[in-house]
């Protein structure tokens, strides 16, 4: 294998690729984990405020978003089955649906946040700072955690779009699809985080 100092010694190892993706997922779990630690401490310290504040959030929108993400997890999982069987068109369709569902999630989020902003509820706002400490922390955590999550949705969407393009030009195919699997893993991670965010912010009272 000729190596020039510009060519890296890369060789195809799907197991390594997938292991690398899982390790990255572990880091994301710990990243959000830090925020869950903060949430659990402040829920413990301010139970009443957290109790009441979550009624400010729209449960139905949260539920719809949860369902959207769960379906999108299924569609991306199905896209892996599709590529394994060499069904290029189906793979692309499923990926497109996944990305579309992600977009829907973001649109919902945009309106959700928009309403809060209209009522003067955002980190650092004077209205928020008039409320109790528990309220300040609840909303601070709400915006920070759902915001960071939304950022990961955007990253995931971009990743899936790139993967869709590669399926189109057959760089990803039934003989080489670890990139699609890894993109799927990332997407499922985004769903996993939301599965915890939803009850903690919208449901528990």
């Amino acid at each position: 294998m000729e190596q020039t100092s510009s060519h890296s010694i890369e060789h195809r190892d799907d197991t390594a690729s997938k292991l690398g993706m899982w390790l990255f997922i572990f880091t994301e779990i710990l990243l959000f984990g830090g925020l869950f630690i903060v949430y659990s401490v402040y829920r413990y310290k301010y139970p009443v405020a957290f109790h009441l504040a979550n009624q400010e959030l729209n449960r139905s929108v949260g539920l719809v978003n949860t369902i959207i993400l769960l379906i999108s997890s299924m569609t991306v999982a199905m896209s892996v089955s599709a590529i394994q069987q060499g069904k290029k068109k189906l793979t692309i369709t499923l990926l497109a649906i996944t990305i579309f569902l992600a977009l829907l999630f973001l649109v919902n989020k945009y309106f959700e946040w928009g309403i809060k902003f209209q009522h003067g509820l955002y980190p650092g706002s004077s209205i928020l700072h008039e409320l109790s400490h528990g309220d300040i922390l609840f909303f601070g955590l709400y915006f920070f955690m759902t915001g960071l999550h939304a950022l990961h949705i955007i990253i995931g969407m971009t990743l899936l779009a790139v993967i869709l393009a590669k399926v189109k030009n057959e760089r990803i195919n039934s003989g080489d699809f670890v990139l699609l699997e890894n993109g799927g893993l990332y997407w499922h991670l985004v769903d996993l985080i939301w599965i915890f965010l939803f009850p903690l912010f919208y449901l528990i009272h």
């Binding site: 799907d14 197991t15 984990g33 699997e181 799927g184 499922h188 528990i204």
Partner: protein
């Protein structure tokens, strides 16, 4: 080298997993509508953990991966859980 993974999850099985997840979601909504005091959080978290477990096992294919990967996932979950528990040694007893 490509993994000799002939294991293909059928669309039907993927759909069944989704149905299970949706049911558990509805269950979470139902349980948290009832006033159970501190058990609300526990119940919701247990169901959420179950959903996460299902996604890890089926959608993320852990069931069919190398056992070492499963051990790593368990270890990460344990470490994180320990971090929260130990942090609460402080907050619970202040």
């Amino acid at each position: 080298m490509s993994e000799e993974k002939q294991h293909i999850v059928s669309y039907k099985n993927n759909a069944l997993v989704l149905v299970a997840l949706l049911c558990l979601t509805m269950l979470t909504v139902a349980i948290t509508s009832v006033e159970l005091g501190p058990w609300n959080v526990t119940a919701a978290m247990l169901i959420a953990s179950l959903k996460v477990g299902i996604i890890l096992t089926y959608f993320m294919h852990l069931k069919f991966e190398h056992v070492i990967l499963r051990m790593m996932v368990i270890m990460v979950v344990l470490v994180f859980t320990a971090l929260i528990v130990i942090t609460f040694f402080d907050y619970l007893y202040r």
